[in-house]
Each structure stands twice: as C-alpha cells, then as structure tokens.
Subunit: 178 residues, 2 copies
DNA sequence: CCGGTCATGTAATCGGTTACATGATTCG
DNA sequence: CGAATCATGTAACCGATTACATGACCGG
C-alpha cells in the first residue's frame, strides 16, 4: 500500500531516465531534498507495486545484482494523473526554531550557536544549489524539463538566501540587546 | 510515552502563561505554525505525563469543564534542560513543489495555479506575521521573551517574502518561456 | 583482500494524525 | 433554543523511518 505521493516522486524521477531504486533515492535526496524525502522503506515497496500495476518495468542493470526500472507508457499516463492531484503537506517541525523561540531559557550563547547551525545549513544548501543549477543548464537532453527544475530550484535558493540574511541579522540583534 | 519535542513545546508555552490544553494547541498553531505543529493526540497525553512528573499542575479554569495547566519550578528546570538538547527535524514534504518539479507533465496552466496557491499561502502568512509582531511589541509583560519571539518571527517573514517574490518571478518566467 | 559503496528487500517500531465519544459554555 | 466554539480524552490507524539481513562490485 504505497501512497500516491511516493508513486508521484518515483514515476516522476523515472520519467527523466531509468535507474535503480538506490539511484532513485539519491536523486530525490540530492535534487529535491529541500522539499521532499523518500526512504528505502517506501521506495522499494512502491516500485514493487508500480511494477505489479505495469506502470514501471524492471530490467537487469549494469550489474546483475541491480535492477533498472523504467517507466511504461501507462506509467506516464498515471504520472499525468498523479501530478494533477493535490498532495498533503506534512506539517513542519523545525527543531532549531522551536528552541530559539524559547531561547530565553537557553541563554544568549546557546541561541547564537543555534543561529549559526541554521546559517551553516542554509549556506551549504546554497552551494549545492549552485552546482545543481549548472548541471541543469549544461544538460541539453532535458530542455523541456529544465524550466520547471530551475523554477523549483529558485525557491530553494531564495529561501536559503533569506535564511542566511536572517541569521546574520539575528546574530547582530541578539548579540547587541542582551 | 510523549516525545521530548512535544514536552518542550508544551512547557515552553506554559512558561509564558498558564492555559488549557485547547488554548495550548491554538497558541502553538497560531504563533509557531510556520515551524511547528502539535495535535490534541499529543498534547493531552503529554500534559498527563508532565503532570505525573510534577512538571505541570492542573487547576480548575474559568469554566469547571476546563483545566488550567501551570508550569512548576521543577518544570522550569526541565524546560531549561530540554531547550538545550538537539531536536530532530522532520524531513520536509512540500507537495506543491514536488508537483511543480514534474510540471512538464502538468502543463503550463496547472503550474501557474500551483504557483498562485503557494503565493497566496505565503501572503496570508505575511499578514498574520504582521499582526503577531504588533502583539508582541505591544506586550510589555514579556519583554524578556520578546527578542527571541521577534527573531523567530523574522525568519518566518523573510521566508514568506522570499516565497512571494519567487512566485511573482516564476509566474513571469514560466508564463513567457512556454 | 578488505573496506566502502552500490543494491534490494523486509520487519519492527514509532511518531503522529484522525476519528470518535462526550459534554460544557457562549452567543445570537 | 440551537449552532458554534471550547474542552478533554482515547483508540485506531497509518505513513514513514530504522534497523537488520544479505550480498555483489570496485578501487586501492
């Protein structure tokens, strides 16, 4: 019983190119990590059920121990259906921000290092986004996907930049007033 | 078996002022909704176990059918402990962004309305943030909490602003190129 | 040859939501 | 008086992670 969310992520990724379950997870983590996540415990069952429904097929990959999954014609139809359906958002749980909100009980030094952590994460994201952007722009094979990928990426970059700017100001403000 | 995350949210909120479980949930949703969420199914069991550990006490509220929970001295000590511990972040699942990433299969019109949805949500957030900010600035009772609250709020505002700006540009770019 | 990565899959567990049951209170 | 809101609590369910079991392949 895989969820339609996972099916969408899997079919979407396979619509770009055939790959293994393992590669699927890496692709989702690296490219969509800011907005989405899937674990093996969802991907493999999802692939099995999609295979049973003939939305994907399994072939032997480069190594005999690996499977290469490809999307079928009916899988593409299914993908077009799924992408039209609204998906539930998972309510956020940003631990650092909860702690910062009650920062009075944590003290100034603790809050500053909390802010630094958040900043470092965002800055790291900014670096990987730049790399991904270059990859997409260099990739002539998927020119019709590129505008959507770049648009999605752009939100990630803007959010990360906003976070870095926030951290820098928060450091100044909290450092001064207390 | 409540999680330490929920305990932190509950004790933190009660450190501001005593309130009912119902009010607790509203407070968390309204003020921290951008970064955190708790449902009744977590709050009431958490309150019960915190009461058993004597971190909170229960008194009769304004109505006999309602309980008024207050944090105790040892509850404050517990809060200071909890706010020092790192909390796990829940991996994000932003449905609209997943769909937009595979927007080629959704088509231009669908993508634009997706972007509009995201924009509307962010714009609504911006409005509530402004209201909360005014409330905090007017509240002289909690002057020592205010810097932390405003700092947390500031990230929400910056993220929301970044999202609105992204949406406006995304609309232009996708509207033009395709 | 050995450690790291690639690779598939399952079972246990868990964190959390939802739905349900129940009832008081307030307001129009 | 009836509807909406305030209020507490539990049980069922579920989506998802984690840990585990297993093994091939590659590079140094």
């Amino acid at each position: 019983m895989s969820t339609t969310s996972t099916d969408l992520a899997v079919l979407g990724a396979l619509s770009v190119e055939p790959m293994s379950g393992y590669a699927l997870r890496e692709a989702i983590r690296d490219v969509l990590g800011q907005f989405w996540s899937e674990s093996f415990g969802q991907i493999y069952p999802a692939l099995a059920s999609l295979e049973a429904e003939e939305f994907v097929t399994r072939a032997e990959g480069s190594r005999p121990s690996a499977s290469l999954f490809s999307i079928t014609a009916s899988g593409r139809r299914r993908l077009r259906e799924l992408v039209r359906e609204p998906l539930p958002n998972r309510p956020p749980r940003h631990g650092a921000l909860l702690r910062l909100y009650f920062g009075r009980h944590l003290g100034k030094a603790g809050c500053l290092s909390l802010i630094d952590e958040v900043r470092a994460e965002a800055a790291a994201g900014l670096a990987t986004f730049a790399a991904i952007r270059e990859e997409i722009e260099a990739d002539t094979q998927h020119a019709d996907d590129a505008p959507y990928w770049l648009t999605t990426l752009d939100l990630g970059e803007r959010s990360a930049r906003a976070t870095v700017e926030w951290a820098d100001q928060a450091r100044r403000v909290l450092g001064a007033t207390k």
